[in-house]
């Protein structure tokens, strides 16, 4: 592999999905069922290329960064130009594999999952454009390109969520996703504007190096922090962080594989990737904010996840919660662990979604078979005892659940543990003890609600068991991806030591970059942080195991052994439950405030525009009519076209003046004399 070859491969990886999109969008109708093959095949080839890049990069070009840049727009002035370019470092290589792998498996899964859909080919086309956009983010070497693909990802997400746009809920959800994302994007764009006006370039490398030389926005560290936080806004939107997390659960209106791909593994992870990518520009203050946002997100969504019955909603909130984890991790300085969690989470959360997809698919079929259209195929209360009917799904789902709960021997344990250690280290270094407290609480809650799902779905027996008579395992296209993801959720892919990830290849491949911000505002140094992590490692393992075990235990006690009555607890705290079930009323809050305010302003302004601004010019017919004797002629003139108040006013004066045109010549003469006298007295 040479540098050129790397770049050529990377370019190919970027554009093959686009080709897939174009082919399918234009010839999809003709290809019909074959479009799935075309799409999967093309994505499969990108997976191959990604693997090649990944292995050669990790193994042979460990410390090198490959970059290709070209000028996209040249303003022809003071060397100000906007470049586009791709960059391959280890993080990119890893992300390429993650994205293409999940994408490929989701393609595969979708072949049967989406069978018979009226827009089958378009679905794969949209998967193609999503992959293209996502890979664009991954490969970007500058803010501009990342922003471009950032938006494109939003578009593809919009298209895929709204795949079943006949459903109002789907249409609404897609719109909501796009707009909420846009809010974050605008923040990011503002950040980009700050950087552009400071550095005159948007290339990562140039900005970092200029910043290390002491160039900071508007010579103010406040602006520097602001720039970081504004860029972070993009991540808040895409990674569904509090307070912009509201779109992600709604996004479950899309087909389940889409949820797995976009809303679990890749797109939502893009925010985390972005934070990691531009990590050098964050000041200590910015990082603290990031950490807190992550922590709040993790906590809030975990509490919500506990109170949901829709299997996908639970997973969605769990995703939000885990993303909060990652963001928090990056915020506390656990760069590698945060990114690592992104990767491991991608595998098991995609697996979880696909697993749930498999369940829903099966449920849907069986319900359809029974002509039951009232039962919600996604409600876990309607499931239960699927373990034996769908063994592969169950066992893989179990592995994913263990991984997300952070049980040893899973990849999740590795990454989560490291994050927890990081939070402890952070609290040691800065005194923000609330962060680790939240982190551990959330870990316990995660274990609890994930096992709740697992138990309610697969274990026990369903009271209404005839309803799921005839349910059976999903076809191989669906189970194969599950198995692959399950395998990837085990520890040995990442580290030889099941208790310590830092011995694996990942930790040597992904290293926290040096900060570029001035020393007085930078976070604690890498060394001191590493040391604190090391110091807290044992404590973290112990605590996390304890807490995860506790969560699992309570879960079993409640839902399996029924030692604790969930209903009783619910009855004890109905309002709390309602509060959690209704997702802390975020949607309602936003509806009542932001949306209401916007719509009201819009209406008021439209009214204002029509009545006042236009009215200033127009005058309302009634006012004029009442002042102008309401003669039929006047009405005619008004309705027919005296158009503006100015003209109305003028016209009105005209009307007054013309009353002196009485037709009596002596009156005229009187006016003439009076006029002459007035002129005389005026100048006298």
């Amino acid at each position: 592999m040479t540098e050129t070859l790397f770049l050529q491969f990377a370019t190919a990886i970027l554009f093959i999905p686009l080709i897939s999109f174009l082919v399918l969008i234009f010839f999809g109708k003709k290809l019909s069922d074959k479009s799935a093959i075309v799409g999967s095949g093309l994505i499969g080839s990108t997976l191959l290329l990604s693997l090649i890049i990944f292995f050669s990069k990790i193994n042979y070009f460990h410390n090198q960064t490959f970059e290709y840049t070209f000028t996209w727009v040249d303003f022809g002035y003071y060397d100000s130009k906007i470049n586009l370019g791709i960059m391959i470092d280890n993080m990119t290589a890893i992300m390429l594999v993650v994205v293409t792998l999940v994408s490929f498996l989701v393609h595969l899964f979708s072949i049967s999952y989406m069978k018979g859909d009226i827009r089958y080919s378009r679905y794969f086309a949209f998967l193609g454009i999503f992959s293209f956009s996502m890979l664009g983010i991954v490969l970007a070497d500058n803010f501009f390109m990342i922003y471009v693909f950032w938006e494109l990802v939003g578009l593809s997400s919009y298209l895929l969520i709204g795949h079943w746009y006949e459903k109002t809920s789907a249409a609404n959800a897609s719109k909501k996703a796009f707009i909420v994302n846009r809010v974050g994007d605008v923040g990011m764009f503002t950040g980009i504007m700050i950087l552009w006006s400071t550095f005159g370039t948007l290339d990562f490398e140039k900005i970092f190096s200029l910043m290390s030389l002491g160039v900071i926005p508007f010579e103010s560290t406040v602006w520097l922090t602001a720039a970081g936080l504004l860029i972070f806004c993009g991540a808040v939107g895409k990674s569904a962080q509090f307070p912009l997390h509201v779109w992600l659960p709604d996004a479950m209106e899309g087909p389940t594989p889409v949820s797995a791909l976009i809303h679990a593994a890749t797109m939502v992870a893009a925010g985390v990737y972005l934070i990691a990518r531009v990590f050098p520009i964050f000041t200590a203050d910015a990082l603290i904010v990031i950490a807190y946002i992550g922590a709040i997100t993790a906590f809030v969504s975990a509490t919500i996840a506990i109170a949901q019955y829709d299997i996908k909603k639970v997973l969605a909130y769990s995703t939000v919660s885990q993303l909060g984890y990652m963001v928090m991790s990056l915020g506390v300085g656990g760069f590698t662990s945060g990114f690592f969690h992104l990767v491991t989470h991608a595998a098991f959360k995609a697996g979880l979604f696909l697993g749930s997809g498999s369940v829903i698919f099966a449920m849907h079929h069986v319900l359809h078979h029974h002509n039951d259209h009232h039962t919600d195929p996604q409600d876990i209360r309607n499931m239960g005892g699927l373990k034996n009917k769908m063994p592969i799904t169950f066992w893989t789902f179990l592995i994913f659940t263990l991984a997300i709960s952070g049980v040893p021997l899973t990849s999740g344990f590795l990454s989560k543990d490291d994050i927890l250690a990081g939070t402890l280290a952070f609290s040691d270094l800065t005194g923000h003890t609330i962060i680790p407290i939240i982190a551990f609480t959330v870990a316990g809650m995660t274990a609890f609600y994930m096992f709740r799902v697992l138990i309610l779905t697969f274990m026990g027996s369903h009271a209404d068991s005839h309803r799921i008579d005839g349910i059976h395992e999903s076809p191989w296209q669906m189970t194969t991806p599950l198995i692959i993801f399950a395998a990837l959720s085990l520890f040995f892919f990442y580290s030889p030591n099941p208790t310590n990830a830092s011995e694996g290849w990942f930790y040597s491949a992904v290293v926290r970059p040096e900060t570029a911000v001035p020393e007085n505002v930078s976070a604690s140094s890498i060394e001191s942080f590493e040391e604190a992590v090391h110091h807290n490692h044992g404590k973290a393992i112990t605590l996390s195991l304890l807490i995860a075990g506790l969560g699992i235990l309570i879960s079993f006690a409640t839902y399996y052994w029924k030692k604790i009555s969930a209903d009783k607890i619910l009855n004890m705290f109905p309002k709390t439950f309602k509060f959690l079930n209704m997702k802390w009323y975020f949607d309602e809050l936003y509806d009542k405030t932001v949306v209401w305010f916007t719509m009201t302003t819009a209406k008021v302004l439209a009214w204002f525009d029509f009545k006042i601004i236009d009215g200033l010019v127009n005058g309302t017919a009634s006012v004029t009519k009442s002042t102008a004797f309401g003669s039929g002629k006047f009405d005619n003139v008004v309705v027919d076209g005296i158009v503006n108040l100015t003209a109305y006013t003028f016209g009105f004066f005209g009307l007054i003046i013309r009353t002196i045109q009485t037709g009596k010549v002596q009156t005229y003469l009187a006016f003439a004399i009076v006029g002459a006298l007035m002129i005389f007295f005026f100048f006298n």
Binding site: W72, V73, D74, F75, G76, Y77, Y78, S80, F144, Y147, V148, F149, E151, L152, L155, Y158, G162, Y165, E166, T168, A171, N172, K175, F178, I179, R182, V183, D185, V186, F189, T190, I192, M193, I194, W196, S197, T598, M599, T601, A602, K603, L605, A606, W607, D609, I613, D614, L616, V617, N618, D640, G641, V643, N644, A647
Partner: protein, 534 residues
Amino acid sequence: MNNNFLNIGILTWMTFIPVVGMIAVLLVPKEQKTTIRWISLGATIVQLIFSVIIYTNFDRSLAGVNNAATMQFVERYSWIDIKSVEWFGRIHIEYFLGIDGISVPMVLLTALISFVAVLSSWSIEKSIKGYFALLLLLDTGMMGVFVSLDFFLFYVFWEIMLLPMYFLIGIWGGPRREYAAIKFFIYTLFGSVLMLLVLIALYFSVSIPDASTGELVHTFDMIAMMNPANYEANSLLFGLNTSWRYIAYVGLFIGFAIKVPIFPFHTWLPDAHVEAPTAISVILAGVLLKMGTYGLMRVAMPIFPDAAIYYLYPLAFLGFINIVYGALCAMAQTDFKKLIAYSSVSHMGIVLLGMAALNTQGMIGAMFQMFNHGTITAMLFLIVGVIYDRTHTRGLNDFGGLMNQMPKYSAIMVIAFFAALGLPGLSGFVSEVFSFLGAFQTFRWITIASTLGIVLTAGYMLWTLQRVFLGELPEKWKSLTDINNRELIMLVPLAIIVILLGVYPTPILDLMNASANELVDFIKGENNLTILGQ
């Protein structure tokens, strides 16, 4: 390549070919409707071909703006030369055409939009002869504005457009056409008379030495007006930063602002758009609005750089108001056309913001946004026209689920909508980003506030998309037919341009680069001023 054909300059051809077409149309008996249509189309196609020639022959390295020597395709003939009496001085009005990077995108846009407009007028049946004659006259007026460098000539072309527009809206428009037409007419005339006064003031203040005799000659030459050395001492507009110059700038500004339209002079626009027939809406939004901003760039700012700098902040602020106010108003509309009309208000705000930035990115962004808004809004109006032709309603709530019924149409529509909301990969994005990037350097907070418009635009655009295309198809539209070939011919080229420029904007950007930089340098450098906010 020679830029003359039959010894007549290419810009003259561009400008007056529609008049030739008009005369031809008038000579054809009114029963031969097809001939009339084809003559009109022919005229615009020829214009389009000339515009391609201009595009290929345009020298990208020449800046123009305030330098007559670097203007291109120049045609300069004496038109009116008065040298009778000594007390009046000598007065010279020229037939002076020429283009630079500021005007060339507008010339291309005008040719393109005129062509599209003729195509979209194919289904007009009422008094077709008069319709096409007026449309072609309008075309001449628009083209003339963009190519003339003599202020008097500019003004004449500017005013020539009014009457055809009045009739086109008034005769072929919707139910409230008379109201809309006269509103447009009076509003624009109000603006242009103020411009007239400034024009007069300039003409008395500026004089240049005659090439041969050396005597001072009063002139309408815009380029001469840009040079402070040409102002006669003690004339009204002599000097820099005088209150007369500020007043004159404001006068010009109002004249152009009405055309843009800038809040609070915008209320003619929703009415005119709603009532105008499709093709006229397309021209109105696609070309006419640009005249306002073009005028600011070509006339107001370079002639009064001092005042332009002085009023930079209000300009940016008006840009902000336009963006947010237009978007909010659009959000509350239930009439498809009105919504798009307000979206134009919002999008033209971006042009203002970019212009006010007074730096390279901002200026290029603004100029590019002018071009892009022209193509995108043209598409949007055509789209509304297509559906209005079929359903005779524009109520957004009357539709739904058209996506399945009219897939080709929907695809085009999605492109247009996403281009309008500034999706990357489509041209609207590029210009929007440039404008904002530029504006931020000059006006930090205003620009940040203006980004609100980006979200709002997404909001109303997607909401509209949903209301029209998504959801269940109402029973009454089950028999709607998809877009036909003629409609595709007018929409697809626009869509291609939108995508192409979104991916690779350089073909247009390199036309205006040199001029935009020169313009910025000139306005700033003239005063050696520090810009507000920096």
